[in-house]
């Protein structure tokens, strides 16, 4: 929790048990030209991996590891926090009934991978400045959170 941003106050102090969260990333420093160039090259490599395997939509703020490695940004509403209320019987999408709701598939896979608890996180509001930048670079530069690739095993 970044305290000085709230002048010492934490935004979710009402209940103690709530996970403290920063809802939106604040505007960070603009990328320098060299950084942009590196980000662009990194994006090329990233796309080679992410587009064929995860059908990545290049939002730059990757939450693939939270959503059981299915890109949630394929949803026509680009929801980041779970499905809308319109999912049809058998998990069809409300907007394009011929498709499956991505969140339905995410749920199924997350249950299989035992990653359901990651779906209970409240994802941050998307920072549109990061659109079409390399998420890997953003992780390295601490603009976004690192992915949770490995789960701790319970002993």
């Amino acid at each position: 929790m970044n305290e000085e941003k709230y002048q010492g106050k934490q935004p979710f102090h009402e209940e103690e048990d709530t996970q403290l969260l920063e809802l939106a990333t604040r505007h960070t420093k603009d990328m320098s030209r060299s950084e942009k160039a590196v980000s662009k090259t990194a994006l090329i490599f990233e796309n080679v991996v992410k587009i064929p395997f995860f059908r990545c939509q290049r939002c730059g703020e990757c939450i693939l590891s939270h959503t059981a490695f299915i890109c949630s940004q394929r949803c026509p509403k680009r929801l980041r926090n779970g499905p809308c209320g319109g999912t049809g019987r058998g998990g069809t999408c409300e907007v394009y009934p011929e498709q499956k709701c991505v969140w339905y598939r995410i749920y199924k896979r997350a249950r299989f991978l035992r990653r359901l608890f990651l779906l209970t996180r409240i994802e941050k509001i998307h920072n549109w400045n990061l659109e079409k930048t390399s998420a890997w670079m953003n992780v390295l530069q601490k603009r976004i959170e690192a992915p949770i690739l490995f789960l701790k095993r319970k002993k």
Binding site: K5, Y6, Q7, K9, P11, F12, H13, E14, T18, Q19, L21, L23, A24, R26, H27, P76, K77, R78, L79, R80, N81, G82, P83, C84, G85, G86, T87, G88, R89, G90, G91, E94, V95, W103, Y104, Y107, K108, R111, L116, L119, T120, I122, E123, I125, H126, W128
Partner: protein
């Protein structure tokens, strides 16, 4: 007593829904509001429902405030980005409206402007959290404001969409984000609703939030099939359609079904209220309230308007 106080003090809540007109006629809103006066605890004002342009929900809510009712403004993420959402939330509070129902919103593909650009900058959960942040006096940018708005924040839930487990998880998320009350999609399939409610109780969520079950009285078979085809996320059991088909007087049958549903729902443990959605049939509210025993004992005024109504119709 305001809605938020009623939520805190307990007791069975009764809210209803009002669709603003497709024109700038304030009298149309006032006329519909007569049916709710002294009967309901809150009146939801839909926000461009099914993506069809209507009178703004905040404007209609202001009319209701002037009429002495307690509106609940529905706010969708389809039409506004984070700037507009925040300014509307503060603006609403400045007008004396404090209840807001945060929704994702139907896709514009179903409405009368399918060519529009949607926004979906936030989703419903993030909007709930945003409203809560504003209430604490912070904008999303982290800036502090001098006079924070007072808001009572609600969310929606669909107990009927698949998979059931995910729906409960999402409800938990909404509570975590700060929802104080939850209104569900209309209940036609009681069994499914009960299984959902069981899961909600198992997770202990009914203690943290006031869950209001939606009930929709329908006039005809056509209305039922229209709902099923056109409104996403609503499922209607076959038996109900055949029951409506067989009925001699579909309107009466519709009221009967609604009353039966409410009576069954009142038995469900953990449920805190009923949310009536009389789609374009607001005038039926007093009758359903009376027949299902939802009229408040203390409101003599409610009964007066009722008997006045009955005389007129007879």
């Amino acid at each position: 007593m305001s809605l938020s106080q009623k939520i805190d003090t307990g007791g069975f809540l009764f809210t209803a829904e009002l669709g603003p007109p497709k024109s700038c006629n304030p009298d149309a809103v006032r006329k519909k509001s007569v049916h709710f006066k002294n009967i309901v605890d809150g009146v939801n004002i839909t926000d461009n429902q099914t993506a069809i342009v209507r009178l703004s929900s905040i404007a209609a809510a202001k009319i209701l405030v002037d009429e002495g009712l307690e509106p609940v403004v529905q706010m969708t993420c389809r039409d506004r980005n984070r700037l507009a959402l925040q300014s509307d939330l503060i603006g609403m509070s400045a007008l004396g409206i404090e209840n807001v129902l945060c929704l994702t919103g139907d896709h514009q593909r179903f409405g009368n402007h399918p060519e529009a650009k949607n926004v979906f900058d936030l989703d419903s959960i993030q909007l709930i959290a945003t409203a809560r942040m504003l209430r604490m006096g912070f904008f999303l940018s982290g800036e502090q404001m001098k006079r924070p708005p007072s808001l009572c924040i609600g969310g929606a839930a669909n107990p009927f969409a698949d998979p059931l487990e995910f729906r409960v998880l999402r409800l938990a998320k909404k509570i975590k984000a700060g929802a104080q009350f939850i209104q569900t999609q209309p209940v036609f399939d009681l069994d499914r609703f009960k299984t959902w409610m069981n899961r909600v109780r198992e997770e202990g969520l009914d203690k943290k939030v006031a869950v209001l079950a939606g009930v929709m009285p329908v006039k005809s078979v056509r209305a039922l099939t229209y709902m099923e085809d056109q409104v996403p996320g609503i499922f209607i059991p076959r038996e109900l359609i055949s029951r409506m088909k067989k009925a001699e007087n579909p309107k009466e049958e519709g009221v009967k079904i609604a009353v039966e549903t409410i009576l069954c729902l009142k038995e469900v443990k953990g449920l805190r209220g009923i949310h009536l959605m009389p789609l374009m049939w607001e005038s039926i509210t007093p009758r359903i309230a009376e027949e299902s025993g939802l009229l408040r004992k203390d409101s003599a005024a409610g009964r007066n308007t009722l008997s006045g109504k009955a005389k007129k119709t007879s």
